[in-house]
């Protein structure tokens, strides 16, 4: 199968409601259970080790009309929160046995408990992921939080997470993340071979597939893309920053590329490639995962890192990707992205890196103004 055909299939897959994805999986896995996690990071390893299917929960995208949720969340709240609740009201999460939220922002925090109130039969867990990155107690704390999640699975579904199963799950996800890192590296080296719309589609599809299947597919795709015959074009190499939670419409990513950009780094679907290297190690797997969360995390707007300034990670991405500029792409009303924008922008200015701001909403459907803005920016940079 050519990569183009696979990507087209994945485009269909990511447009499906989770209920359809789960129904298909459960047909092949009678009695199986599925848990979907809201952005940014969730310990898929723990879910997998409990024998369940980990999935991403990424809102309603362009497909969902709000009929209930907008009466519950005000106009100044981001779209993904509303559409996620709406998915519940419209039965589009049927078959999903549980949801996991975490403390990425105040909206996600409130959403978790409001979801639970409206759908009391769904297992809903809220994780408090640590914001202290240096305390002697942070790793033991997070390990205890992961064990609490496992205990919740045992109580709700009678599914145990053994240490050996968790160790295997860590290996399985390390393998998947290694493939993702390789795809990202390929895009940096030869962006003409792998469009960001493709990379995003593949990655998003991987969040809906069993980990082994996703890893195998990425292997195939990696080889196929590397062998692709494509000529480099005169485009602006950019880093996209700020789209770590609400999903930008594919059309927006397309416009970015059509307007003359190669996206060489981004923070899309960040939770699925959270670790900068394998979790690895040996010993208690809960502790290992916790240690990696604190010490091997990618820079993220939803996690405080006291060991470096907000802009350092972004500047490092610019350097690593040999990027010419940064396109900030926060979702409308996204508090963490919009706050970080200020410190990051100031850091970029100190480092002499040009940047532009493109706000989006998951349901955005006209891109002409954005296209013009990006084209102007690209032209001003390329013909400077």
């Amino acid at each position: 199968m050519t990569p183009e055909i696979l990507v087209a299939q994945y485009r269909d897959l990511i447009a499906e409601p989770l209920s359809a994805v789960v129904e298909r999986w459960k047909r092949d896995h009678p009695g199986g259970r599925a848990i979907a996690s809201y952005p940014v990071w969730a310990p898929n390893e723990v879910i997998h080790a409990a024998g369940m299917l980990p999935l991403s929960l990424l809102g309603g995208g362009t497909s969902v009309e709000l009929t209930h949720a907008d009466a519950r969340f005000q106009s100044f709240v981001c779209s993904i929160a509303k559409s996620t609740l709406e998915l519940g009201f419209q039965g589009r999460l049927a078959g999903v046995d549980g949801l996991v939220f975490s403390n990425i922002c105040d909206v996600a925090r409130n959403l978790g408990s409001i979801y639970k109130r409206n759908f009391p039969d769904t297992f809903v867990e809220y994780l408090h992921l640590p914001q202290n990155s240096t305390s002697a107690s942070v790793v033991p704390y997070l390990a205890s939080e992961l064990r609490r999640l496992a205990a919740g699975f045992a109580a709700a579904f009678d599914l145990k997470v053994t240490e050996s199963a968790l160790a295997e799950a860590i290996d399985a996800y390390d393998a998947l993340r290694a493939r993702i890192r390789a795809l990202y590296a390929l895009r940096i080296a030869e962006p003409q071979k792998l469009a960001t719309t493709e990379l995003y589609t593949i990655l998003r599809a991987a969040t809906l597939l069993p980990v082994g299947e996703a890893t195998a597919a990425l292997d195939t795709l990696l080889a196929a893309f590397a062998a692709r015959d494509a000529r480099p074009r005169d485009r602006l190499r950019v880093v996209v920053e700020g789209a770590f939670c609400e999903q930008p419409p594919l059309g927006l990513l397309e416009v970015l590329e059509e307007a003359g950009c190669y996206v060489v780094e981004d923070d899309l679907l960040l939770g699925w490639r959270w670790f900068t290297a394998d979790v690895g190690g040996d010993g208690d797997p809960f502790e290992r995962l916790a240690w990696a969360y604190v010490n091997r995390a990618v820079p993220s707007s939803t996690r405080h890192e006291s060991r470096e300034h907000r802009s350092v990670g972004l500047i490092e991405k610019v350097r690593r990707g040999r990027a010419d500029a940064v396109v900030f792409m926060p979702a409308k009303f996204c508090e963490p992205a919009l706050f970080d924008y200020v410190l990051m922008k100031q850091g970029l200015e100190r480092a002499g890196v040009p940047h532009m701001l493109v706000e989006f909403e998951e349901k955005m459907w006209t891109f002409e103004r954005t296209r013009n803005e990006i084209e102007t920016f690209v032209e001003s940079m390329l013909f400077d």
Partner: protein, 421 residues
């Protein structure tokens, strides 16, 4: 509507004394640089001000600065200044007003409000706190300490949660020692906590007095006079004495059957922070209807004391951790807040719930439509939801809010009339 209701224009000792104490504290801050005192910024929600006090770090509260500027109608130019440097119109305006103050030169070295030496981010629920203090540290160069307090997500704080917070408190003590050059004395902390518990007792007693008909004070609009002493000055002898006097004063009003208005026609619970730039006009909208808030959630952001929790000097760090983890509004889920409000409505015999939804604060507001659904549909409590902001005057649409308030109380009055017939 029957005869006009007026405010008794009662200011009383509580108001004056609160103002005096807060002014004295601001004065201390103003002298801190000259006196070479170590200052520490901290947030209101579920704070550990007692620990800073025992460490001889003079606490400062950026939120108080922001709200004072809003009350004095100074917030908009500050917000605009911050927006000019890149802050979004959709970000919490508290942060923007404080950043704007720095840009304007009203906050910083040599100013009446000095930069803090240590920036203790007590991350108790509000995620914006993390951002705010990162920005403050970036601007001021102060040392940032992230005090990560796990959110309430189990029936009671777990041993793991408490251990995690206590360990961080110990690390904070070490940091303070290194900054002040003074050894920390646990017995001093116990004394501070005992004073704190006395203030908590007094505050709780005041809040229970509003169960009387009429309530002796408005638990939303007047509580602000007590929120300074309970959240900022807790742990001082002055705050403890302040609440002893407040209890006596309010008990006197109860005995004389006096409330804040000439007549108490409706008893409300108010949820959400007030619109500080329009404090008085917002209050007037309710005064006109004889509506008195007998309870409010905003008065519990720093701590929920009316249900019995007190700091325990015998278990100093553990009880500070417990308070931060659980005994405050902000570290509890919005749905847990429904239960708190329900208890207020029932035990304080309120006629209605008023939700003031503010754009700046998603912690409070995101999902208040669901809260409204719950109170109206599940409990049958008349509920009014109005929207504006606590800091940004651009979001206060007076005419629109007035219409909604009037329509709501008209309907409520009609309902009362029908019920008494």
């Amino acid at each position: 509507m029957a005869g006009a209701v007026t405010e008794r224009a009662y200011q009383g000792r509580v108001h004056e004394e609160s103002r005096r104490l807060m002014t004295a504290w601001m004065g201390e801050l103003g002298r801190a640089e000259a006196e070479k005192r170590v200052t520490g910024a901290i947030m209101i929600s579920g704070n550990c001000v007692e620990l800073l006090r025992a460490c001889h770090v003079l606490p400062m509260f950026p939120e108080v600065t922001a709200l004072q500027n809003a009350i004095r109608h100074k917030s908009l130019p500050l917000i605009l200044k911050a927006e000019q440097v890149g802050y979004s119109s959709d970000n919490c305006a508290y942060v923007k007003a404080d950043v704007g103050l720095v840009l304007e030169g009203g906050f910083g070295p040599g100013k009446a409000l000095p930069f803090p030496n240590v920036i203790v981010c007590n991350y108790v629920g509000c995620n914006v706190y993390v951002k705010w203090f990162e920005h403050l540290a970036d601007i001021s160069g102060g040392k940032l300490f992230m005090l990560d307090v796990p959110f309430a997500r189990t029936d009671a704080p777990s041993a793991d949660d408490i251990r995690y917070v206590v360990r961080q408190l110990e690390e904070l003590i070490q940091l303070c020692e290194s900054m002040t050059g003074r050894r920390f004395d646990i017995d001093e902390l116990r004394e501070v906590l005992a004073l704190s518990a006395r203030a908590q007792d007094g505050y709780a007693r005041c809040k229970h007095l509003t169960k009387h008909h009429p309530a002796p004070f408005d638990s939303y609009f007047d509580s602000i006079n007590m929120m300074g002493p309970i959240n900022v000055l807790r742990g001082t002898p002055e705050a403890a004495a302040f609440f002893d006097a407040a209890v006596a004063e309010f008990e006197g009003l109860v005995a004389r059957r006096l409330g804040p208005l000439s007549e108490e026609r409706f008893r409300t619970v108010i949820e959400g922070p007030p619109p500080y730039p329009f404090y008085k006009s917002f209050r007037n909208l309710f005064t006109k209807w004889g509506a008195v808030a007998v309870q409010s959630t905003y008065s519990t952001v720093g701590g929920i004391w009316e249900f019995g929790f007190r700091h325990d000097p015998r278990r100093p760090l553990e009880s500070i951790a417990e308070q931060m983890l659980r005994e405050n509004l902000t570290n509890r889920s919005i749905v847990a807040r429904y239960a708190q409000i329900r208890r207020y409505v029932e035990d304080w015999q309120a006629d209605a719930l008023v939700i003031h939804s503010i754009k700046s604060c998603r912690l409070f507001s995101a999902g208040q439509g669901d809260m409204r659904e719950y109170f109206i549909k599940d409990l049958g409590v008349p509920t009014l939801l109005v929207e504006s902001d606590l800091e940004d005057p651009r979001y206060y649409a007076e005419a629109q809010i007035r219409n909604r308030v009037d329509a709501f109380f008209e309907a409520l009055e009609h309902k009362k009339l029908v019920a008494t017939r």
